[in-house]
Symmetry: C2
Subunit: 138 residues, 2 copies
DNA sequence: ACAAAGATACAACATTGTTGCGTTTAACAA
DNA sequence: TTGTTAAACGCAACAATGTTGTATCTTTGT
């Protein structure tokens, strides 16, 4: 499906900013920070605040998921198709390289098992494994 | 062991700021943000930058561990005794309440199992489960 | 008690993220 | 296609979090 229809399907109006951001994230195995994305857009016109709002809108629409790196910075990646129907079930882990600072989505079957104390209700999960990636370890 | 000796054992010089921060964290099941701690110290004199540096020093010394909430804010809690001997093995999960914003250390046997791609080397882990805590769910 | 090393406090700054508001653009219906 | 309305954009201003440099003060070890 093309970007325009993906946006429409989520009830998002189709604007050039949103198309640009979608295209930037599409097909990537990495989650990008605001700084990363601003860098990507440096030749085109892309307002910093607009970028924040586009990413927030995308997250609320279930189009992207947000993951926080150990430095407290948000990174965004497109959700897999499975998230298309309303609720995030993106509980996959992420790997953040301490050397190149890339944030990898671990699509493999990483899974968390835990005992939550009685009365605690889970809404979601943020898991970041940090270390050195393949390239930086070599 | 008293605070003074804990600091000495880690090779940290004993200062009033460090003792204050240690006492503030001691015996707590919650991880506190800088803002939380500044609030605790509002009657005493505690410089904001000094607090940052004390917490950084504590973390490097393996005395506390840091966990990032979904908003990107760092929270700190004392490590269990097991961490005393040089390397963090604080891979326990944390629970962040979306309503009262408290960060709970889940000392229970929460555990992560995942397959890391070949060549990736793990150094540590940041896991935050978010939702509503017992008090806020009632 | 003294010298050296380390910690503190202040200012200045960097980065990340939010809010308000006037202007522009997209959606939809006539 | 055009006009109306609602939404998105872009700018300015601001807030929170965190870092760096440096002079002063405190701790440590002799």
């Amino acid at each position: 499906m093309d970007a325009t229809n993906v946006l429409k399907e989520r009830g998002l109006s189709v604007t050039s900013s949103r198309l640009q951001v979608y295209e930037a994230l599409h097909g990537e195995a990495l989650a990008f920070s605001h700084a990363d994305l601003e860098q990507k857009f440096k030749r085109k016109k892309m307002d910093r605040i607009t970028l924040y709002r586009v990413l927030n809108d995308f997250e609320e629409a279930g189009l992207v998921h947000k993951v926080i790196d150990p430095g407290g910075v948000a990174h965004f990646a497109l959700c897999k198709d499975g998230c298309l129907h309303g609720h995030h079930h993106d509980h996959h882990a992420h790997f953040n390289c301490q050397r190149c600072h890339k944030m990898f989505c671990l699509d493999t079957d990483s899974q968390l098992s835990f005992k939550l104390p009685r009365g605690f209700k889970i809404a979601g999960l943020n898991t970041v494994i940090y270390g050195t990636c393949k390239t930086c370890s070599a």
